[in-house]
Amino acid sequence: MANRHLEPDTPELRARWDTFAFNSAWDAKAKAAIARYPDGRQKSAVMALLDYAQRQVGEETNTQGWLPIPVMEYVAAYLDMPVIRVVEVASFYTMYNLAPVGRFHVQVCGTTPCMLRGSDDIMAACKARGMHKGHTTEDGLWMLTEVECMGNCASAPMVQINDDNFEDLTADRLNAVLDALAKGETPKAGTQEPGRHTVEPLGGPTTLKDMVSANHDYRGEW
């Protein structure tokens, strides 16, 4: 995620977000996050609070959520810490969005295992629906980014959409997922391969077969 940048601090941004405050649900979570740390160490909760703030912004704007500057200032004041330290954290982690995003943030993994398993098709399918890397579609529904390895190589290729991973994709399967999301449904997260549950080998175990039914001591066979 190169080229991240803070959304400029404009009067319009201030007018929209200066009044931001946690609603009661997020406020309770924020207090719980702070309570996990000793007195005077409330700053340690900054990452949780930024996440909650981003989610509340998402609820308010019906998007994945992002962090406008006034919201970061609110979090800084909430935790009694300098704003620049909050911005440092928010700009370091790519999961915090620094600029407005769409309803669904489609993060396509393009690292080698996914690429070998067809991530180019996935990317093409996304682009066929009108998405551009780094941009939100005009209907405000999709935002596309290409990311590096998300750690799902055993079920490549994959995309991450907001909080869920969708794995073992083909262009058709991705389209099914995206259609469901667009309709407001909640498609099944994880692998999209019929019959597969997580990342177990397709067609049964290929190694350590004797371990399937009972514990087996392989040491004598080495």
């Binding site: 300098p82 911005v87 440092e88």
Partner: protein, 667 residues
């Protein structure tokens, strides 16, 4: 006390030392960028790699590795040489090759270290990273593409200055140093990051493209912008002072100076008095010769009726020369407290910063009365922050100001000293090293007596510790008091005496309306308030243009050297007073600077020895005080005639204090 060997040299290092410090103790030079003695350890530049046994078979960052018993450290092995070359090559990958147009050139750590430890050629052919410019205010010029992300500036503003405004945004290759939303850095020590920056990313904006370090004459000077007496190096070329930089003196300024000390020097070439002026009958100033001016003064036939008022910036030699002149004429009307303060100076120990500037760091409970320390002495403020970080409790009597450390404000009225809250008394009584800091605003409200009584109550003077401190604002104050520049009733006594001739030695804060009947002779260097009111103006030398002795607020006698000549007809102050003595036909007893200094030492021996003067024991106090405290400094950047003449200080004042949005000049 671990024993270890560095390149075969056996030595013992203090407990808690790092490997880098151990190498330095052994006399080995370790290249570094992010490590700085006065900042926390970051360990992110990797330039200080050394080989350490026992340990993993790879080079280790010596700045962040504690020295331990039995270590064998090598700084000269093949592995270390290659590691340094590798790190340097990585650093230079994204560093532009713009040394010819970089102001850091010639005093650049990266330049020096790449010559000493680098490969000598580059293998990198790909495009380099570029970073957009960041605005950091009127003093700091940024070229962030040159930044090597050592984070010294971030650590300085967080740890020393106590104002979190610089940070490192984004990550990895995209990491960028910036102030929050690119607002100007607004604390009083901000420009020190320029010295800290090991490359040319943060350079001095007013000094941009002015000179190269090797063309400058370096003179050891003393700063006069406040009473701390920071040690500075005055860099000049020809007749112009181009910049002032801090010198290291752990007892006074460590290695920082305030922005005012650093940037008021451009005021030395503006609004200067470089001619003799006499006010004619119509009330207009007319250029004249020295002889004419002296004749007018002689014609006033002052006899004994002559007085001298010393300004805030003058050196002891000037003050003594005037004192000698007045003594020869039979007058003792000397005063230096221009704004009319009349605190008791029968014991100088009572008006001295007794704990010492370095000592105040070790205090564990501090009561500040009537001092806006951040503006009156930014370097003392940095020390107070250190004390607070070490756990000291601080209480402040006076209107609230933005502290850089946790402190409790007790109210603006000094009457609170009579009924201090129980927590203050408990903290001061329970402290091992309690301290009081009394500022000028407190002195003006008569808080000296009550605080001396409190000092006795709380036993501020104990074994190896004297916690009673007065923080002055004028560089000339302690020297003036040692030379007797104080009347019992302050300046009111001089007004009452109605002197025929009033010598104003660079005095710009005096209300001259009080002296309507006197012939006002202004001996000074800037066309400021004093010159405005004067009948005769004799152009003199500023602090960079004369040798001089200064005494800072802790009673430390320091000598400054002359960097450049005064402009035009201006002369060194003492020579003017010597010539005036001839015109008035009196004998002052000196014909040269050396003779003058010998007379000073005969008069006040302490002024002849560099170091802390001894003022004896603290007197007893008593009485009570009341009244709202009002800090005298309304604008940190414009406190003296030099700063008021300085375009840089004016811009700082307008932009940083009054929030004016100044358009940047097109380059």
């Amino acid at each position: 006390m671990p024993k270890l060997t560095v390149d075969g040299i056996e030595l013992e290092v203090p407990q808690g030392a790092t490997v880098l410090q151990a190498c330095e103790l052994a006399g080995k030079e370790i290249p570094r960028f992010c490590y700085h003695e006065r900042l926390s350890i970051a360990g992110n530049c990797r330039m200080c790699l050394v080989e350490v046994k026992p340990g993993p078979p790879k080079p280790q960052a010596s700045c962040a590795l504690p020295a331990a018993e039995g270590q064998e450290i090598r700084t000269d092995s093949e592995m270390v040489r290659k590691a340094r070359e590798g790190v340097m090559e990585f650093l230079l990958i994204n560093h532009p090759l713009d040394c010819p147009i970089c102001d850091q050139g010639g005093e650049c750590d990266l330049q020096d270290q790449s010559v000493a430890y680098g490969r000598g050629s580059s293998r990198y052919h790909e495009p380099k990273r570029a970073v957009t410019e960041k605005y950091m205010g009127p003093l700091i010029k940024t070229v962030m593409t040159r930044c090597i992300q050592c984070t010294r500036c971030v650590r300085f503003s967080e740890e020393i200055a106590g104002v979190d405004e610089i940070g490192a945004l984004y990550r990895g290759e995209n990491m960028q140093i910036t102030t929050y939303l690119e607002r100007a850095a607004t604390h009083e020590l901000s420009a020190n990051v320029i010295d800290l920056c090991p490359v040319g990313a943060l350079t001095s904006r007013p000094y941009a493209f002015e000179a190269r370090p090797w063309e400058l004459k370096k003179t050891l000077g003393i700063d006069v912008s406040d009473a701390v007496g920071a040690n500075i190096r005055i860099d000049s070329r020809g007749r112009e002072v181009l910049r002032a930089l801090p010198r290291i003196n752990d007892d006074v300024n460590e290695e920082w100076i305030s922005d005012k000390a650093r940037y008021q020097v451009d005021g030395l070439t503006k609004r200067r008095l470089d001619k003799v002026w006499i006010r004619n009958k119509a009330g207009k100033l007319e250029a004249a010769s020295w002889d004419e001016a002296f004749k007018v003064i002689a014609k006033a036939k002052p006899g004994k009726s002559v007085a001298a008022i010393a300004g805030d910036l003058v050196d002891c030699e000037t003050m003594f020369a005037a004192k000698a002149l007045l003594r020869a004429m039979g007058s003792k009307l000397l005063e230096g407290r221009q704004t009319g303060m009349d605190y008791d100076v029968s014991s100088l120990a009572a008006v001295n910063f007794n704990s010492g500037l370095a000592g105040i760091e070790t205090a564990d409970a501090i009561l500040i009365v009537g001092s806006h320390v951040r503006w009156e002495a930014p370097l003392v403020n940095a020390r107070l922050r250190k004390a607070a970080k070490n756990g000291a409790k601080l209480f402040i009597v006076g209107p609230e100001w933005e502290t850089t450390f946790p402190a409790t404000f007790l109210g603006a009225d000094v009457a609170v000293l009579d009924k201090l809250p129980a927590e203050v008394a408990a903290a001061m009584e329970g402290a091992e090293r309690p301290a009081i800091i009394l500022g000028g605003a407190g002195l003006a409200r008569g808080a000296l007596g009550p605080l001396l009584a409190l000092a006795a109550n709380w036993k501020l003077v104990r074994d190896g510790w004297n916690g009673f401190n007065v923080l002055h604002m004028a560089a000339s104050r302690m020297g003036g008091l040692m030379l007797g520049y104080a009347q019992k009733g302050g300046i009111a006594d001089i007004v009452k005496a109605k002197p025929a001739v009033l010598l104003a030695l660079g005095a710009d804060e005096v209300d001259y309306d009080q002296f309507a009947g006197s012939l006002k002779v202004y001996i000074g260097h800037h066309g400021d308030k004093g010159a405005h009111a004067a009948d005769i103006i004799l152009p003199a030398a500023a602090y960079t243009e004369k040798d001089g002795t200064y005494v800072n607020t802790e009673g430390r006698v320091q000598f400054a050297e002359k960097a450049v000549f005064a402009p035009g007809d201006a002369r060194e102050d003492w020579t003017i007073l010597r010539a005036l003595a001839d015109a008035l036909k009196v004998d002052v007893g000196f014909d040269s600077f050396d003779e003058l200094q010998a007379l000073i030492v005969a008069d006040v021996p302490a002024l002849g020895v560099e170091g802390l003067a001894d003022y004896g024991a603290l007197p007893a106090g008593g009485g009570s005080a009341s009244g709202e405290i009002a800090y005298p400094i309304k604008d940190f950047y414009l406190t003296n005639p030099i700063a008021r003449a300085s375009a840089v200080m004016q811009r700082c004042s307008a932009e940083l204090l009054h929030g004016e949005d100044l358009a940047e000049a097109a380059e």
